[in-house]
Symmetry: C2
Subunit: 469 residues, 2 copies
């Protein structure tokens, strides 16, 4: 407790007593993200309280905290909004949580340059609502949009539901302000594109708080689209649906949404829309009226060529209304069941094997109740698969071990199929042991970057890379 | 000479005598790129021969050379094909030139995943021709395509003439093999997209050979397009033309080519196509027939809204035939004139000021003969301007000083207008002094990356970052 008192006193001096979180429940919630294992442990009261939770109001306060932590070799865990599902935020008892929740200002919208700038802690849905009010959208809709921060999007390499047209966060992230581990503040300017050395945005994109703390982000925005067209199609199986996705991307069409559900998820989420056993594809095209008038029929025709059957727009409307409403992990945990999602990706030559291989591997784990998948982000060279599984141990003491057996099976099968172990959720702690296999001979580069930017090793230790010895 | 002999002997031992370039003229050509100042100095016999030029055949040979150079603290200058125009390659008398010209194999085309892999020294035009033979294209057409290597494209953050549809090199670069300064070989795998920490490609994209040596690259490709449509339009001035570009990008159209020439360049390159004083826009749309049938008329309509006048497809055809034929710098130098290009970029709110400001600044330099510009790469948030200037000193002894006065004027005006100092040519030596002003507080990050990846400082010293003390 002596250390905790010393840290709290130092932080009070640095940023003021009112910036320290006193409420123990609030402090504990800021010490973890929404990783189901963290939720499970917190339900069992098995997570420590962090040394302190500080909520800076300004970049200068962030810098003061980090400079202090580097001097004193104290771990700092940046916290955006806590929606991560991989355990990237999981503060130990000796760590300071740096909660960006008091830095939520929208700094400005440039309607001519199509840019919007916000403090890193702003909630995604607040950001998008402000843009909508001015006639714009970012086009970035992660399912977590109401629970995640704009800075967190960058730190985790977020992907949104409309990414096929608008791109993922790396395509929308234009400029930033960040604080390095030693308290140095760095800022970049918005330019459309440059050839001025390595792109420094990528030191922080996907850094998961281990390379610096983002304090401000500037994103590309666009006017609200002139038109939108929607259609759903049923396919005999995932195989034909994946082929339709591949042909659509290969032809050069870029509808905002291409979501292909396997027969389990089609039956669960769109009961009655397709026949039993069929896969279901949602297509949403938006943009100029002349574009969507050409795009939607062209995509539908490509789908028909491989056995797709148009079933109307209603499933797309239904998805648009319910897309962000998912039951929390707690509901299932309280019933003795653990549910999680695993998003991976692969090139088109490997994706069928990946889909089948991961499902088979998970289903072979005793205790698995159900496993299913859908594709939600397609590219010219491949697509992702977003798996959902539920597992129920005989005894709740075995819940964590069962969970990790399912993950292990999925990760092994992904690597065996030549896929990537994460499409957009990140590494955190749940995938950490697999990252070296993912990156192979390039893995040491991550450590080289980390040590160069944070030689004292204070920034989010244990996320992305191994816990320090 | 003792050092040179020792280095040559060591390299013979490492990779074999036949991999050393003996011809002094060939060796001197590999010690520089096509920066006009290097051409000028070489015409005056004012460039030293490098200590050695080695042409490895394999990644292992590259690794052996780099490990040796790091041990012995000898500078290594990677050389692709020498088409750079900023002085990124300019080897001193004590440096080893690592010429990748013997590593030109096409490793493979994956027709399903839409990927192609080549050794880094392969010429761009050979790569594209091989793709065309199989029914594909990369869609990446830098003007230097016949003179530049696929690895060089990555190292300089190349942009191609069809970038508005297909993206720049960072959008097409999927995976790589590189050798670090200490000889470590790192490889990544092709995946469509990942959230597995910072994107390691960006350590080498734009590195200009200072962070590692690329030995193999994998790019995204696409099938040859189903259709293409072309149209040229004349505008009263650049102002209306830039507004047409902005509205086209803002609406979400992505024609492969949008090239807007000011009245000087329109008159020079498309005589008679537009009226005197008019700007000229080339539009080329390609992709599925239904897309181009919608896109070209829509773009033409947006152009008419701001005063554009359709003038037929002939200027586009003419450009397609002559687009890569430009006179070399030597022709002008031998006439006592220096000619160069300066490509910069800015967001839409700043681009008119940038265009006018840079031209005015260059024209204010005594000795300037002509300055003009065009926009060739547009984005939702802004565009580039590619300036060309010619200057003639009273005495040839003053040629370099005059050249740097023009560059200084252009760079100052670019920074004043809030633009970026390079859109796609890179930094090399000509822009080095301006890079700190470009990146501001983020500038030290470049040095942090460099020192982390190359602690001995052997990789291309003097390019991008200052010469070591």
């Amino acid at each position: 407790m002596a250390d905790r008192d010393r840290i709290a006193a130092a932080l009070r001096d640095l940023v003021g007593a009112d910036r320290l979180v006193d409420d123990p429940a609030v402090a504990r919630r800021a010490a973890r993200d929404s990783w189901v294992i963290a939720v499970w442990r917190s339900l069992g009261d098995r997570l420590p309280a962090p040394a302190a939770v500080v909520r800076p109001r300004t970049t200068q306060e962030v810098a003061a905290v980090l400079a202090y932590a580097t001097r004193e070799r104290i771990a700092v865990v940046p916290f955006g909004a806590g929606s991560g599902v991989c355990g990237a935020v999981l503060a130990g008892a000796d760590a300071i949580v740096l909660d960006l929740g008091a830095m939520r200002a929208l700094r400005g919208i440039d309607e001519r340059a199509l840019l919007a700038t916000a403090e890193a802690g702003l909630l995604g849905s607040d950001f998008e609502a402000a843009l909508n009010g001015a006639g714009f959208s970012m086009g970035h809709f992660p399912q977590s949009i109401a629970l995640s921060s704009v800075g967190g999007w960058v730190a985790t390499r977020s992907a949104g539901q409309f990414s096929t047209k608008y791109g993922n966060i790396e395509d929308l992230f234009v400029a930033f302000e960040a604080v390095l581990a030693d308290g140095t503040v760095v800022r970049t300017r918005p330019v459309p594109r440059a050839s001025t050395g390595p792109d420094l945005r990528h030191l922080f994109l996907g850094g998961e708080g281990t390379t610096g703390v983002l304090t401000e982000v500037t994103f590309q925005i666009h006017p609200l689209p002139e038109s939108t067209r929607r259609e759903a199609l049923a396919f005999p199986s995932m195989r034909e649906g994946l082929e339709a996705l591949r042909r659509t991307m290969r032809a050069g069409w870029r509808p905002a949404v291409l979501r292909l559900y396997d027969e389990i998820e089609a039956g669960r989420s769109f009961a009655g829309a397709a026949n039993a056993g069929e896969s279901l594809l949602l297509v949403l095209s938006e943009g100029p009226a002349a574009l969507t008038a050409a795009e939607l029929p062209a995509v539908a025709a490509l789908c028909r060529d491989v056995g797709g059957r148009a079933i109307g727009a209603q499933p797309v409307e239904s998805w648009l209304h319910h897309r962000n409403a998912v039951p929390g992990f707690e509901v299932f945990l309280k019933q003795g069941m653990i549910v999680d999602t695993i998003e991976v990706a692969a090139t088109w030559d490997r994706i069928e094997d990946l889909y089948a291989g991961v499902l088979a591997a998970m289903r072979a784990v005793p205790g698995l109740v159900v496993a299913s998948g859908h594709s939600s982000h397609s590219y010219a060279i491949g697509t992702n698969i977003y798996f959902t599984f539920a597992a129920r141990p005989e005894h709740s003491d075995d819940l964590e071990a069962l969970y990790f057996r399912v993950w292990d099976a999925a990760m092994q099968a992904t690597v065996a199929a030549g896929g990537t172990i994460s499409h957009h959720h990140g590494i955190g702690r749940v995938r950490r042991a697999w990252l070296e296999r993912e990156l192979g001979s390039a893995y040491p580069l991550l450590g080289i970057i980390k040590r160069a930017l944070d030689p004292a090793g204070i920034l989010n230790p244990g996320a992305l890379l191994p816990e320090p010895a």
